[in-house]
Every structure is written in structure tokens, then in C-alpha cells.
């Protein structure tokens, strides 16, 4: 499918914002949803809605099939060995917190080390900060190269025999950097540490193969990959998950309840307390079908090309700084930037007045903002439905912002 054709699957894109056709460039925050996903949600609620694993009735069976069918789609999508390794949670944040609260609490002790990097999203910093505080462990940061990439040498310098957990994002939501997860995993494993991957910005854009990466945990969210909000996935290696305690108790995760002792269901339900996110999982399954129909290879290539084109066009603008690696091959489909003399909020407002949605702020990466020595930035992030024409609109909008703020007064 060509991006123009793909675009037709997204009803939201067909509207005017402040009098201009919408250009949505904030997919790193959340992607838009194709008709197929919206229909899957509406069909589920219209026809199949019921609780799972309980009802003996037909609707209960349909809901269970929808929910567990989605799990199998996710398994294939990330190439996990078994559906037991695919846990449905609310999103990346909950998944990372679950690893910290369950695996982390049981396996990290005083003086042990947890390794993260300066580019991490808050969701991959704070769970480890809290764990380190609770356990008297040491949180260590891998410094970045000048261009915002990670070097394996620096990773090797930081990881030691005391390292228990290495948790790193696959793709940076600010720099666009794609990190060498497979190589970092090898280093972590050589020191007996487990590798946790924040895949929030990777799963929507790259083919994920958890067996090839050999990572121990992989977390991602549905809403950034055409799925609904409120559904995400924690992948974990079965041997690790089997030895971990749940962090939420009650509802669907229960096996047998006694007065003073209870037992849990087996994997993956052990970690899915309460009534699960059934419609969310069904919607995520539909999103995966949609992405696979387009092809992840195609998606990745399209975004590389678009980011390359955007960087080329944006560098025509004097006083525009792009953060992260300037080599389009080293980055995913987003461009984070600042315009000299215009605060990113003002940039975003001018763009919004012209129908263009971008993100402005610290992108939940305050340590990275400090590293970049800025208080905030603007970010244009692309997805399958964006075209070169969208980039052209962005560039026109940026010129307006620049002129407006230079002329006004």
C-alpha cells in the first residue's frame, strides 16, 4: 500500500483544523487508529462483549477467543516462543513497573547495580530509581555520544559483575536513535544481568524478534502502533516469568483462594489481575493485522525515507537545530528540533494554527533535556500515513513561525 492509500484507512485525518487540512505529526505520542481497529472495537462491544475465561455461554467463548486470539497475534508479531510469554498489561509504563516490582524486588539487593541511559523515557527511569532506593542498589547511567547515539564501549565500561538489570530503550522518542539492543544484551548476559527493553517506540516501526534480540523482557504499548489506549504487552522469557511473583492480586490471576493462602494461575494469566483489557486486546490484534498487511519492512523503510526527507528540508531553514544523529540511517521516523529565538510552545501553536500537530515540551525525558542543555524541544514524528507533502506543510509552517516571531513587535 502507498501512504496515500494507507491514509484513507484513517478517518481522523480527513478533517480541517483551524481552517487547514490536518497534518498529524505526533505519532510518537500516540498514533491514529485505522478504520479496521475502530471497527474491531465496535464489533466487539456490539456483538461479543462478555467476560473471559468464566462464562460457559457463547458470548463468553467469543470474548475469550478474541482475547486469547489477540495474544497469539502478539506472539507472532514479536516472535515469542509461546503465548505464555505474552502478558497483557495497560502499556509500556505498567510493563516496566511490573518488571521492577516483581523481578527487581526479588533479585536486586544492596550494592547491586541497575543500568539505564541518559536518553530514557521517565517510564524507564523512575521504576528503577524507586527500586534502587528501596533496595540500596546503585542506579548507573550510560553516557551518550556527542550525536546522541550509544557506544558499546561505554556500555561495557558501566556494566560490572554487580549489575543485575540493564534496561534500555530500543528507539529514542526524542533523538530517534536506534540502539544496538542485541549487542547490549550480549554484554548484559556476559555479566549475568537481565536485559529489559523499552520497546514503546520500536514496536510500531520495526520488525521485532525477541528471540533474535535474546532480551529477557520487552515492553510496548498498543496505542502507538494503531491500537487502542490502555493495552500494552510485557514479554518475558518463560523461565524468568515462572519464578516471578505477581504484583497485582485478584480477579483473573487467581487459581485457588483459601482463608490465609492462595495460589495463582499459570502463565500468562498470573500477571493479569482483575478483568483483563479484553476490547483493548481485540483492538491490538486488529492493529497487528493491519500493520502486517502493510508489512513492517515497508513501514520501516517509509519512515526512514520520510525522516531523511524531513531532515533535508528542515535544514534549509536557518537557525533550526536538529537533535540526535544526522545520519537518517541511524534514526527512526521522528525529528526533534528547535528554532532559534522561538520557544517550542510558540512553534507548536503557530503550527497548530496552520493545522499541523507536533509535540512541544520535554517529552517525558527530562534527564535527556538536561544532557541536550535545553528546557524543551519541538518534535515532528511520522508514521505510515504521513507523506512528503506533510513534511512540506511542516516546513512551510516553520517558516511562518520564524518570520512571525522575527517580524512581530
Amino acid at each position: 500500500m502507498l501512504s496515500k492509500e494507507i491514509r484513507n484507512h484513517f478517518p481522523i485525518l480527513d478533517q480541517k483544523i483551524n481552517g487547514h487540512p490536518l497534518v498529524y505529526l505526533d505519532s510518537a505520542a500516540t498514533s491514529q487508529k485505522p478504520r479496521q481497529v475502530i471497527e474491531a472495537l465496535s464489533n466487539y462491544y456490539n456483538l461479543d462483549n462478555s467476560n473471559v475465561h468464566r462464562g460457559v455461554h457463547t458470548l463468553g467463548n467469543r470474548a475469550t477467543e478474541g482475547y486469547e486470539g489477540a495474544r497469539e497475534k502478539v506472539r507472532k508479531f514479536i516472535n515469542a516462543k509461546s503465548t505464555e510469554e505474552v502478558i497483557f498489561l495497560r502499556g509500556t509504563t505498567t510493563a516496566l513497573n511490573t518488571v521492577a516490582q516483581s523481578y527487581g524486588r526479588a533479585n536486586v539487593g544492596e550494592g547491586d547495580e541497575i543500568i539505564i541511559t541518559y536518553m530514557e523515557h521517565h517510564s524507564n527511569i523512575i521504576p528503577w530509581q524507586q527500586l534502587a532506593k528501596e533496595k540500596g542498589a546503585v542506579l548507573k547511567y550510560v553516557d551518550l555520544e556527542e550525536d546522541g547515539t550509544l557506544s558499546l564501549d561505554k556500555v561495557r565500561e558501566v556494566i560490572t559483575e554487580r549489575t543485575k538489570i540493564v534496561s534500555i530503550m530500543y528507539v529514542s522518542n526524542v533523538l530517534g536513535t536506534m540502539n544496538p539492543i542485541k549487542e547490549i544484551t550480549e554484554i548484559a548476559h556476559a555479566h549475568g544481568a537481565v536485559m529489559v527493553v523499552d520497546g514503546a517506540q520500536a514496536a510500531p516501526h520495526l520488525k521485532i524478534d525477541v528471540q533474535q534480540l535474546d532480551c529477557d523482557f520487552f515492553a510496548f504499548s498498543g496505542h502507538k502502533m494503531c491500537g487502542p489506549t490502555g493495552i500494552g504487552v510485557l514479554y518475558g522469557k518463560k523461565a524468568l516469568l515462572n519464578n516471578m511473583e505477581p504484583v497485582e492480586f485478584g480477579g483473573e490471576m487467581i487459581d485457588f483462594v483459601g482463608l490465609y493462602e492462595s495460589t495463582w494461575k499459570e502463565l500468562p494469566w498470573k500477571f493479569e489481575g482483575g478483568t483483563p483489557i479484553i476490547a483493548g486486546a481485540v483492538g491490538l490484534g486488529a492493529a497487528i493485522d493491519f500493520l502486517e498487511e502493510i508489512g513492517l519492512d515497508h513501514i520501516e523503510r517509509h519512515e526512514h525515507e520520510l525522516a531523511g526527507y524531513a531532515m533535508e528540508r528542515m535544514s534549509e531553514i536557518d537557525g533550526l537545530t536538529i537533535y540526535g544523529p544526522l545520519d537518517p540511517e541511524k534514526r527512526a521516523g521522528l525529528v526533534t528540533f528547535n528554532l532559534d529565538g522561538v520557544h517550542p510552545h510558540d512553534v507548536a501553536t503557530v503550527l497548530d494554527m496552520n493545522g499541523i500537530a507536533v509535540r512541544a515540551g520535554h517529552h517525558c525525558a527530562q534527564p535527556l533535556m538536561k544532557w541536550l542543555d535545553v528546557s524543551s524541544t519541538a518534535r515532528a514524528s511520522f508514521y505510515i500515513y504521513n507523506t512528503e507533502a506533510d513534511v512540506d506543510r511542516l516546513v512551510d509552517g516553520l517558516r511562518i513561525a520564524k518570520e512571525y516571531f522575527n517580524d512581530v513587535n
Binding site: 481552517g19 510552545h345 528546557s375 524543551s376
Partner: protein
């Protein structure tokens, strides 16, 4: 593409305050210091006030933020000088109403601040405009908490 609708937000008096901020800096003889940030965007303000006999004798600010937040801080420090703390706190309420698009008391002379009324039409930017005012309100309202 157009810029007409932007003029509702970015009035020239706002841009003037942004580009030539009044009362920028840190008061050496301050007795009230407030640091406040807007957690969703990273804007920060460092406000220093000198309050004697319940009168705001002087006010200065430093900060990092967009045109709206910095212009608002500049205007706020200007109007608050010489006011007693109750008047200052009342102004913060009036300003808040202005941001919510509510009718405000005509008898109050807001001076340059009226230029910020257009922000009410840009809901995403209201927090930018109110940051400095919230800092001031905290400073004059809860001295014991805010004083270093």
C-alpha cells in the same frame, strides 16, 4: 497558510514583554523566593519578592519558557509592585478568571495584562500564562512555606 489568527494570541504588547522583559533578574534583598515549574512542558520560573509591611516593594523573575509565560511573568512583576499582599492575591484571582474567559470587574486597571485575554481562546496555553501568577500567589499567600 495564515497568521491572522495568531494575532489574537501574540499581541504586540506581549511580544514586547517577551523580547524586553521587565524586572528580569534576581532580587538581592528579597525575603521571598519561589521556584515553580510546569511539569507538563518544563517551563520554570524563579521569582523573588521583597515584601515589607504587607506591601510588595519589589519583584524580579528569571525563568525559562515560551513567549506567553515569560511575557506574563514580566507583566505580573510590573503590576504587583507597590500593591499590598491582599491586592496582589486578588489580582491573581482576577487573572485566573481572565484566562477562563470569565467577565471581570471593569474597575480594575489591568494595563498591559489585558493583552493576555486572548490566551483564553488557546486552552493549551493557559498554563503557560498562569505560571508566574501561581508563583506570586504562593509567595504572598503562604510566606512561611515559600520563604527560604
Amino acid at each position: 497558510m495564515s497568521t491572522n489568527n495568531l494575532d489574537q494570541l501574540y499581541r504586540s504588547v506581549i511580544m514586547d514583554h517577551y523580547k524586553n522583559p521587565r524586572n528580569k533578574g534576581v532580587l538581592a534583598d528579597n525575603n521571598i523566593t519561589i521556584d515553580m515549574n510546569n511539569p507538563t512542558c518544563g517551563d520554570v520560573i524563579h521569582l523573588t519578592l521583597q515584601v515589607e509591611n504587607d506591601i510588595v516593594q519589589n519583584a524580579k523573575f528569571e525563568g525559562e519558557g515560551c513567549s506567553i509565560s515569560m511575557a506574563s511573568a514580566s507583566m505580573m512583576t510590573q503590576i504587583v509592585k507597590g500593591k499590598n499582599v491582599n491586592e496582589a492575591a486578588k489580582l491573581a484571582h482576577v487573572f485566573s478568571d481572565l484566562m477562563l474567559g470569565k467577565d471581570i470587574d471593569d474597575s480594575i486597571d489591568l494595563g498591559d495584562i489585558e493583552a493576555l485575554a486572548g490566551v483564553a481562546k488557546f486552552p493549551a496555553r493557559i498554563k503557560c500564562a498562569t505560571l508566574a501568577w501561581k508563583a506570586m500567589e504562593k509567595g504572598v499567600g503562604n510566606d512561611s512555606d515559600a520563604t527560604d
